[in-house]
């Protein structure tokens, strides 16, 4: 129906066709987003106490990792990450770069979910996507109008950087494929957030406190830096 409308060259109808297309895309994106964001490596499978058994058999327990679902999800998320990372490299506009970074950070959070690090994924979303990115965008808005910004480096420099980074990537791949890791096979127990918290307040107490002090200092420092001179 819409193809015919387009063929007749009716502007309004083709616009409608586009709108319906975006409707379909929206539904598709929502569905894929929900599938991708569904943390499959849920800690519900991790421990062996009674609650977990309850969840395992309950209607709403998490799906077990493994099977066909995990590789599909991994490849989808990894593709998104890689494309977004390359997008950051290629983009010339600073705001587009920031949006690519947003997608990259989001998909890294999904990688964390796939790696059964739920808490880390959520923290990544909150801190990076909700915090760091806002800071970046703030910076963009404050500075995007500056007249002398050159986004185009010289061609030679660009090629040089590409060669260096390509070589680095190849070297990393070679190393990765030649290395033999003592990997654990199969489904491994995840880490519960309680465990994480306990470790953070016992074994890693000193770094935790130091990080707190650091954040404090950074807060004061950043406020001071951004302050207008009198």
């Amino acid at each position: 129906m819409f193809a015919r409308a387009k063929a007749r060259g009716s502007g309004g109808l083709s616009a409608q066709a586009k709108a319906c297309g975006s409707f379909r895309i929206a539904i598709l994106l929502v569905l894929t987003g929900m599938v991708l964001l569904a943390p499959t490596g849920s800690v519900a499978w991790a421990t062996d106490d009674a609650v977990t058994a309850e969840q395992q058999i309950g209607v709403t327990g998490a799906a077990p990792p493994g099977g066909l679902l995990e590789p599909i999800l991994f490849y989808a998320v990894a593709m998104t990450t890689v494309i977004a990372a390359l997008g950051v490299c290629i983009a010339k506009n600073i705001v587009r770069m920031a949006v690519w970074l947003f997608i990259a950070l989001g998909s890294v959070a999904m990688l964390y979910f796939l790696l059964a690090a739920d808490f880390l994924g959520a923290i990544q979303l909150i801190v990076y996507v909700g915090g760091t990115l806002i800071l970046l965008i703030f910076g963009v808005m404050l500075t995007s109008k500056s007249p002398w910004v050159r986004f185009e480096p010289p061609k030679l420099e660009l090629i040089g950087a590409a060669v260096v980074c390509g070589a680095l990537l190849v070297a990393l791949c070679v190393v990765l494929y030649s290395a033999v890791w003592p990997e654990t096979e199969g489904v491994v127990p995840g880490v519960s957030v309680a465990d994480l918290g306990r470790r953070l307040l016992t074994t890693y107490l000193v770094p935790f406190e130091v990080a707190g002090v650091l954040l404090m200092i950074v807060m004061v420092g950043a406020a001071h830096l951004a302050r207008q001179e009198k």
Binding site: M141, R227, K230
Partner: protein, 399 residues
């Protein structure tokens, strides 16, 4: 009669001092507010020079609604020009009719029958209430409190119904004409008007509860956009804007016309916060005071209408022979108290039936002139608040 009330000096407009706290100094930006902006009350265009959320300078641009009203007046007989005055300040058409009619009557020496005068007062005050209801309601709308707008329009609809019953029109009445009122009141109108007044009186308390004394509203309007009395006088502000700066000046008391001297009513003026029921945080001359002037004036208008209805004399409503009236070779300038301030008409006759010159002095135009002076170093959110508080009608600004 004019008494200048001593007032405290207005504080700094808002707390933000750019040199101290505006540390995220960004580039200046020119923003067009209007002519199709929802909060500029018609086709006002204000060009804002902004730094982030701060407005550094606001320059009004007018003329989008210019219809040569005054020039038309020089080509028509006075009674034919009456409908054009409706269209100047379209929210208070009756008051415009009245001002022009008084000017022509003074020029030609026409005596208006007493019943006509009383009906004029009733109409004028009803229209004042209707106009203030729009102002007060739109003030809520511009503050984001949409309910106020609907409540006010609910009551305004009833006034429009009354007008429709009396003269057949709901917005451009042309009911007051040279020499009196065009038609007498229909049967039963007085009772319906009384019924409405009984209903409307308590509503003013509702408005106060909903919006006037609301904490957020007070915080947003109190001590914002303060016009000092000197500025108000220097810029020729009139009406509620002038009284909102703390001076008791109302033409209905100062130079009574159409028998206003027969009625007992008060002229409310702005008082500093904490006195006479005014909330804390309010200073004389701020947005809140100008807004509250309208609320108080509505109550006074109700008083006037009640008295006028009680004292309504019998007799004619229209003087004889107003068509093909010969305007003497003389000039006259008369002002009347409109809801928005003093509307003055200058009429110059040359012995023919058509005026040689008609000139209007619009309150909105003069009130608007202070915009640039006040809207300096305020927040963007205060722009609509200030524009709504001086309550301009672009039909009358551009004429």
């Amino acid at each position: 009669m004019a008494e200048i009330v001593l007032q405290s000096a207005p504080d700094v407009l808002i707390d933000i001092d750019r040199s101290e706290q505006g540390d995220l100094h960004t580039e200046e930006m020119l923003v067009n507010m209007g002519p199709q902006h929802p909060a500029t009350h018609g086709v006002l265009r204000v060009v804002l020079r902004t730094d982030g959320e701060m407005v550094l300078e606001a320059i009004p641009h007018i003329g989008y609604l210019h219809r040569c009203a005054e020039k038309i007046g020089e080509n028509l007989q006075p009674f034919q020009f009456i409908p054009y005055t409706d269209r100047m300040d379209y929210l208070s058409g009756i008051n415009n009719n009245q001002a022009f009619a008084i000017a022509v009557e003074k020029l030609c020496g026409i005596k208006v029958p007493s019943r006509g005068q009383a009906i004029r007062v009733i109409f004028a005050e009803l229209n004042r209430i209707a106009s203030h209801l729009v102002t007060v309601g739109c003030y809520g709308l511009d503050m984001g409190a949409m309910t106020m707008f609907w409540w006010c329009f609910r009551e305004r609809e009833m006034i429009l119904d009354l007008f429709e019953a009396a003269c057949g029109a709901r917005l451009t009445y042309s009911a007051i004409t040279v020499g009196g009122v065009h038609d007498d009141l229909p049967d039963g109108w007085v009772e319906r008007c009384r019924e409405f007044l009984d209903y409307f009186g308590p509503k003013i308390d509702d408005y106060n509860k909903l919006l006037s004394y609301n904490h957020i509203f007070l915080k947003r309007t109190g001590n914002v956009g303060v016009i000092s009395l000197e500025d108000a006088i220097a810029y020729g502000l009139t009406g509620p804007c002038l009284r909102g700066s703390g001076i008791r000046w109302d033409l209905r008391k100062v130079r009574p016309y159409d028998g206003y001297e027969k009625y007992d009513f008060d002229i409310p003026i702005a008082l500093p916060g904490g006195t006479d029921g005014r909330p804390e945080g309010v200073v004389v001359g701020d947005n809140w005071c100008r807004y509250f002037m309208r609320v108080l004036e509505m109550a006074q208008s109700v008083r006037i209408i009640r008295q006028a209805l009680d004292q309504l004399p019998d007799g004619d409503v229209l003087a004889k022979k107003i068509k093909n009236l010969k305007l003497p070779d003389d000039e006259v300038y008369v002002e009347a108290e409109n809801p928005r301030g003093q509307l003055g008409f200058y009429v110059r006759g040359d012995g023919s039936t058509i005026p040689y010159r008609v000139k209007a002095r619009g309150p909105s135009f003069n009130n608007l002139s202070i915009l640039t002076h006040i809207c300096r170093d305020i927040l963007i959110a205060d722009m609509p608040a200030f524009i709504a508080s001086i309550d301009i009608v672009l039909g009358e600004v551009d004429r």
